[in-house]
Symmetry: C2
Subunit: 561 residues, 2 copies
């Protein structure tokens, strides 16, 4: 039996509740969305005392299931104003699950500007005053955790971006080396946590592995699934997600200069091959995992040209949105910006898109690396300009009078142009999360459809969204591939874990219900189904390939009906 | 027969269409909302080429009806993202109506940054290149018009705030002295006009008075209505709208320091009596009309202590939102800020509220007059800080992490606290226009209800909204009082004007349909009925009187059903 831990920051009270039966099948996103829907008023301000932030490891997080260490963070988003879940790797999810914590709910708000560290062991949950950590960067907090609690102690923390209440602020999680390089990046979850006065959550003790009801059956599936993943995900292990640089540019879906172009003329300088070479030549690493039990290991440790640590987990989305889409062509420059974002706790995607939009609005020139660095420091310092950029692409674009803002429901799109990758475009348009690839990415070749054509994309996106919400519910990394062929693995894992036999249809129906619950929260927050669309310019402005986004808007608004 | 003039700024083409029969009863807001609903895509960007801005004099504007000189300006709003109508006095509405123009639609967009003056006479409509007027202030444009076209030539223009595409940018209209002191202030209509490359619209020639079908009947009603208004609106004539300072503070509904308090301890220094005394003692004027035929004359000309012209039409909303709500206590200071706003073309209400919210967010201190002046100049210059403030209270508050943002659907509330004036609060919550008093103000004593109690406010607000939309349709100033007892005057005026007999119910039904059409546009723009509410803090944070806003939120979301 697992527990729900509730921390009320208004009176610093910690309470523990047993897991209700009805949450039996829920974990991760399914659980954060359920709790946010039930307990948070859709029309509250995300920073109100009555707003809450929920952490939930996936249903299988803490078990032996491969790639199952994800931790979901959910709240009403200061970026979109709707419900949000952002999930993250790193070492916190597993240790939290193994401390028998089904969900951690942080609610209320201190009356002043106090900061706290929440200390969680297998037997206790305590708040420790930590005002001296105010406005410390994530790497500084990581050092504090190492020196106070021991090297590689799992932790969650927020940087100064969150303390300035930026809507792009992340929740950082320590990686296998104890660095704050894993981020629940999207939707400003960090700002919500910071508004509660929590600077860090530290996990001492290791707890014990989650035991499935049918242990042997579970081990059999795990083994089979792991072998399948190792065999099919080799490119991800070798090149990381940057393997997509060539793929997406060839597909004509790579955003360049604020979505002006769909291909990049300098792909070799930012490709997965270049990234892997730099890592190996300079003493860094590819094939680096987020947590124990990851068999894909798509992460990396990236060193600078002198062989010194520069950043970790330089990913496709960062490379393109903070790089090519801002006119940068140098992987080392992008890596440096990635480090600064991680250190201040800024979502590289929303921040990159906001900077690209600011370039379109004349604040900076495309390709101005020094200017971008200065802007990131303004965000870290919380100047007026920094706070403006920290509201993300939509607010920056509105403020500068930019018509071409590549965002849906207030959230910037990921690094796939919806005109050329129409399944992912459909997910941007319709996901309750806003312009989000992690809500149902339809990568080239994945759906069996012609990505450049509108036919069938609504059904394909809906399938991908449901399978993805299942991954997010189970705590599986989406790189296991939320595709139809993984459903049997999901079904067998859940059946063995719970000891009850489930069908694929039953799991799909669970996923659909989670999506509907999220859409219903949004509706009551004033975000109607008519916001299920991409910005108009994607429908009228052609890519060089001649493509526009042409999925029927009536189908988009009716997708969850 | 009147005409619809269409100016396409993409190719500088002017076309003239005869008035369609179905527009027979429409004018002002009814007509701008109808045309925007029909011709503008709800999901377009307000600054797209396909966005349009519509000017329409009221149905009775240009006739002898008292106080009937209003001109409506409608578009998709860059402030709210929804449909917007903002109407204005000054001399342009009448001359436009008398030039047989039922509506002027400006559409398309020049490819570059060209500026034009649109010259309208009774016989021709022409575009004149005017790049040298770029970023000229409204008073400078007023001087240009006087020197080029003659003293007191009626005109419409936009200031630098509009050219920076600020969402608080106004459309200015010349007053009886030829000064740009009348503003269609709300919703950023100025930015939409500026985005089309139009810097000014100038009306040469006088045209001819609109002739009612039943001329004698019309004259009889006009006389009766005018006598009634002169007798009942004496306080407005004597003190201007500032007569409300004492009334509203006594009611406990005056916003002070970003809606922290409902009464002001220094009312005498900013009251209508003080304003009138300053005007008379210093060579200014009260009892000043917007246009010929106004019998209320609530405007004023305000001189500084040395007797030099400072500003005109210093109004209650400005005095409170740019004054008391920002912690100012000096009428001369407020008058100076009013002049600066008029000159740059900034809505004093949205700007005042944005400044108060910025004070709550720590950018300025409450009462910092010099700081406020500097911020207004930043807005006029279009700096990053100026552009941020120019997005209005909602964006400023979001950016600074302020939880207490007194706005609905992106538009700042007027100078009546919804907790103490619950009918007006209901109008803020439900009007398709956002937090707008001009959409149905329920002033103390007007509804016959206890303003401090929730009972009956939804019905009262709906009535006020329908009567107000009728005023806006007819071109009558809302100071004629959109109350049940004026309906017979409206009915008789319309019946005599059109030559067809209308009942009060028929007119009320017309008004209701206009409101529904606006709400329907908003719905398709993604603004759902669940946004029909005041911000949560008004429901939880008590005024000193103990009052909170407690009108049932389900009734609010269902008001137009």
């Amino acid at each position: 039996m697992q527990n729900i831990i509730r921390v009320d920051m208004s009176n610093l009270a910690v309470t523990k509740e047993s897991e209700p039966d009805e949450y039996q099948l829920l974990g991760g996103r399914g659980l954060t969305s359920r709790i946010v829907s039930r307990e948070v008023a859709p029309n509250c301000s995300p920073f109100d005392a009555e707003s809450k932030i929920v952490f939930a490891p996936g249903l299988l997080t803490g078990s032996l299931a491969p790639c199952s260490g994800r931790l979901s963070v959910g709240a009403k988003s200061p970026l979109t104003g709707g419900i949000k879940e952002s999930n993250v790797g790193g070492t916190a999810g597993q240790v939290m699950a193994r401390a028998s914590i089904k969900a951690l709910i942080i609610e209320g708000k201190p009356s002043g500007k106090e900061r706290y560290v929440l200390e969680i062991s297998s037997t206790s949950v305590k708040l420790r005053p930590a005002n001296d950590l105010a406005f410390k960067t994530n790497y500084e907090v990581g050092e504090f955790v190492a020196s106070e609690y021991g090297d590689k102690t799992p932790y969650i923390c927020v940087g100064p971006g969150a303390e300035h209440l930026l809507a792009v602020a992340t929740v950082a999680v320590g990686d296998m080396e104890g660095r704050p390089t894993r981020h629940a990046g999207r939707g400003g979850m960090g700002a919500v946590l910071a508004s509660k006065g929590i600077k860090a959550i530290v996990f001492t003790g290791t707890g014990r592995q989650k035991l499935p009801q049918d242990d042997q059956g579970f081990k059999d599936v795990v083994k089979e699934f792991a072998v399948d993943l190792v065999n099919t995900k080799k490119a991800l292990t070798r090149f990381g997600t940057a393997v997509l640089v060539n793929v997406i540019s060839e597909n004509g879906a790579m955003p360049v200069n604020n979505f002006r172009h769909g291909t990049f003329d300098d792909v070799d300088r930012i490709s997965g091959e270049t990234l892997a070479k730099n890592c190996h030549d300079r003493g860094g690493k590819t094939g680096h995992g987020c947590y124990a039990g990851c068999v894909i290991k798509c992460s990396n440790i990236y060193h600078d040209i002198s062989g010194n640590y520069l950043t970790s987990a330089l990913e496709y989305e960062t490379i393109v949105l903070l790089g090519a889409n801002c006119g940068l062509r140098d992987l080392d420059q992008i890596a440096e910006l990635d480090f600064i974002c991680d250190n201040y706790g800024l979502d590289t995607m929303e921040t990159g898109s906001a900077l690209a939009v600011s370039m379109e609005g004349g604040m900076l020139e495309f390709g101005d690396f020094q200017g971008m660095k200065e802007m990131l420091h303004e965000m870290g310092r919380g100047t007026i300009t920094g706070k403006l950029l920290g509201q993300g692409a939509t607010v920056v674009g509105k403020t500068l009078g930019v018509g071409r803002i590549p965002a849906v429901k207030g959230q910037a799109m990921a690094a796939y142009d919806p005109r050329a990758l129409k399944g992912t475009g459909t997910t941007y348009a319709t996901s309750p999360m806003g312009g989000d690839h992690t809500a149902g990415n339809c990568l080239p070749g994945r759906t069996g459809l012609d990505d450049h054509k509108p036919e069938g994309q609504v059904e394909a996106s809906l399938d991908a969204q449901i399978l993805t919400v299942l991954c997010d519910n189970l705590g599986l990394c989406i790189f296991v591939g939320p595709v139809g062929s993984s459903l049997p693995f999901f079904t067998r894992l859940v059946s063995c874990y719970t000891g009850n036999r489930f069908t694929g249809e039953e799991l799909m129906s669970l996923g659909k219900n989670i999506l509907r619950e999220e859409a219903s929260f949004n509706e009551k927050a004033g975000i109607s189904k008519y916001q299920n669309d991409v910005p108009k310019f994607f429908r009228t402005e052609e890519l060089h390939s001649g493509l526009v986004f042409d999925v029927d808007s009536r189908e988009l608004s009716a997708i969850f009906e």
